[in-house]
């Protein structure tokens, strides 16, 4: 029932859990043995590799913008290249690229019997559960950058504004399919209740 929506190697190679920032304490890891959640890593679906590419491209673009500003500064003042800005751009690339890569890969979701689980984050980890019966709308949105990378975001809304369940970086077709599935389940639950 659980389909992996990731594409090829990227989805399979994704690290099971980020370990650099401390021990594994996800509720789902510890629930592995006898908890209500079946927690094989393969059960989770992941966004496509395009998400990582998009985030890294964004970081790269911001580094380019910083360098451009530095270059313009040299033009107008006929001064030497401002090394602080160049350093900033370099830091942006050196630290930012791997970090956003890991962050993009940290997204994953699991369609369970009665609710949807979404997990994300490297430094700040978040796990959300949205019961299908509580979903009010499910929307698929794609901003200009996402469209450039042929990606879409599935956003879930409940009656609470605090619900932050969204799944970015999905292929538009798969996003559409997921939306259909979620809406169907939401309706089924609304009828059953």
């Amino acid at each position: 029932m659980h389909r992996s929506l990731g594409h090829g190697a990227e989805a399979r190679q994704a690290p099971t859990h980020p370990t650099r920032f401390g021990p594994l304490t996800s509720p789902l890891v510890e629930a592995d043995v006898d908890g209500p959640i079946g927690l094989l890593d393969s059960a989770w679906a992941r966004p496509s590799a395009g998400l990582r590419r998009m985030r890294q491209a964004e970081v790269g673009a911001s580094a380019v913008v910083i360098l451009l500003i530095a270059w313009i500064a040299t033009l107008s003042q006929a001064a030497a290249l401002p090394w602080s800005l160049v350093g900033l751009a370099a830091a942006c690339l050196l630290l930012g690229l791997p970090y956003v890569g890991r962050k993009a890969r940290s997204w994953r979701f699991l369609e369970r019997e009665s609710d949807l689980l979404v997990e994300r984050g490297v430094m700040f980890r978040r796990l959300s559960v949205v019961p299908y019966g509580r979903m009010q709308t499910v929307e698929v949105a794609a901003g200009p950058v996402e469209q450039l990378f042929h990606l879409a975001t599935v956003q879930l809304h409940t009656a609470s504004a605090a619900t932050d369940a969204r799944i970015p970086g999905m292929a538009p077709y798969e996003a559409e399919q997921l939306r259909e599935r979620l809406v169907q389940r939401g309706e089924a639950f609304a009828e059953g209740l």
Binding site: P27, A159, A162
Partner: protein
């Protein structure tokens, strides 16, 4: 809650008193409505009129005619608005037509009515009028206002609507089977209101600025502690605070909450009075607020988070928005007892997070508590003031587990239960041990679903509300 037996409806004198309005004839609002509307707009009108007068104090009489014209215009507009507004009960629908140029028709299915409230602004009370506000589930576009009806008629229509909405043929008199749960003490209210940061804020701000100003001139030889600027600032601060206190005091004076078959009945106010019914289903969360300066006295406030629309511009603060004060101020024990009664079980005092959390949240650690009870969750947070939130599990919309880098090092995690409404309207079990947080996160989805099902079974069985049993005398009033 006294309702005359005589048929007070002027438009349907031929009908028996029990069912005055089901015939579907059109009704107008009370003829004095435009006067009240004009009265409510009086402050604005006075300002508009006063401006030119102040401007040409020594000048001629050029302003006089336009002033008169303005008043006539405002009066005429009110009259037209009254003339084109009419309402009637159609088959299962309350219909309100209004607007001359842009005709607006509000059709409110009676089955979807969630509450019928009576609001009496000060000007309306002078003429013995009241506004009837009918709320339906969902967005605020589904609300209907009847402003204004005579007080007796408003009571009558309210009862009729509630009776039709509940679908029962039995006469449901809100006044008949009601049980007062809490009543605000006027003396305690007078002490408590100025002791809130919200009221004190303007005074504190001015005092701070003035103090800083004085301190900066300390070095100079001509330093006097009270300059005219400082005195003016202090006077402004005192006036602002006094206004804030007065407004809150008059709104919360005589405030009482009682329990009826429809849910909770809130009443209170001096100048403008409010009568509102709050069905148990609309309560999404209960909050016990203990402001910093109240804690030495052991006082607390009980607030209910309410599902429903956003506040409209023309609505009074008292009956709009997403929060309702249930108890303005009362001893903490009483407030907690009432919260427990509404939640449907004793409130557990909760356990503190592990000591490691003290490193991450040194200030709020003493306040942090959390517990899961039968059918609801309780959590306290806060630094200076304590905020205890009770959320029925049947109302939880989603559950979140979060962990930051510091929390990970300390073996902590936070679990949020999201309730209906804006961000932060739910409950936060902050900095629990990661084991506990994990267990909570695994168990809560099931618990919430079970609670929801139980709630729905109860509902279909005819109970209205989140409590399994009908109203019984409160134990808190015994002691």
């Amino acid at each position: 809650m006294t309702t005359g037996n005589a048929d007070l409806s002027p438009n349907a004198p031929h009908l028996p008193a029990t069912r005055p309005d089901v015939d579907g004839t059109w009704h107008h609002l009370h003829p004095l409505s435009p006067v009240v509307q004009l009265g409510r707009g009086l402050p604005g009108l006075v300002i508009v009129l006063a401006l030119p007068i102040l401007g040409h104090r020594g000048g001629g009489t050029s302003g006089d005619w336009s002033d008169v014209a303005l008043i006539v215009l405002a009066g005429a507009a009110g009259l037209v608005s009254w003339w084109v507004t009419r309402w009637r009960l159609e088959r299962g629908v309350l219909r309100v037509d209004t607007g001359l140029v842009r005709r607006r028709v509000t059709q409110l299915p009676l089955a979807r009515i969630q509450s019928v409230d009576i609001v009496r602004p000060g000007t309306a009370r002078i003429f013995g009028l009241a506004e009837l506000r009918v709320r339906s589930g969902g967005s605020h576009s589904g609300d209907a206002r009847l402003a204004y009806l005579s007080s007796e008629r408003a009571e009558e229509v309210r009862e009729l609507l509630l009776r039709l909405a509940s679908g029962s043929t039995a006469v449901l008199r809100p006044g008949s089977a009601e049980l007062t749960l809490a009543r605000a003490s006027s003396v305690r209210l007078l002490v408590a209101i100025p002791l809130r940061a919200r009221t004190l804020a303007p005074a504190l701000m001015v005092a701070l600025v003035a103090g800083g100003d004085w301190a900066s001139r300390l070095g100079s030889p001509s330093a006097r502690p009270f300059t005219s600027t400082l005195l003016t600032a202090l006077a402004v601060a005192i006036v602002l605070t006094a206004i804030a206190v007065f407004r809150q005091y008059t709104a919360q004076f005589g405030y009482e909450v009682s329990e009826t078959a429809d849910g909770l009945l809130l009443r209170g106010g001096v100048i403008g009075t409010v009568t509102e019914t709050l069905s148990h289903r609309r309560v999404q969360a209960l909050r016990v607020v203990e402001p910093c300066l109240w804690r030495p006295f052991g006082w607390a406030q009980l607030v209910a988070d309410v599902a429903g629309g956003q506040r409209r511009k023309d609505e009074d603060r008292a009956v709009s928005g997403r929060q309702r004060i249930l108890v303005p101020v009362a001893p903490r024990g009483e407030v907690l007892a009432l919260a427990a009664r509404l939640a449907g079980g004793p409130l557990p005092s909760g356990t503190a997070p592990p000591p490691a959390a003290r490193l991450k949240a040194p200030l709020s650690y003493p306040m942090l508590r959390g517990a899961l009870a039968d059918g609801f969750a309780v959590a306290s947070i806060g630094r200076l003031r304590r905020l205890t939130t009770v959320v029925p599990l049947a109302r939880v919309q989603s559950i979140r587990w979060t962990q930051g880098p510091v929390q990970r090092r300390l073996g902590l995690a936070t679990v949020h239960l999201d309730a209906v409404g804006r961000r932060g309207s739910g409950l936060t079990l902050r900095d629990r041990s990661s084991g506990e947080a994990n267990r909570l996160f695994q168990e809560l989805p099931d618990l919430c679903q079970r609670a929801l099902r139980a709630d729905q079974v109860k509902q279909s069985a005819g109970h209205r509300g989140i409590r399994p049993d009908p109203p019984h005398p409160p134990d808190m009033l015994d002691s």
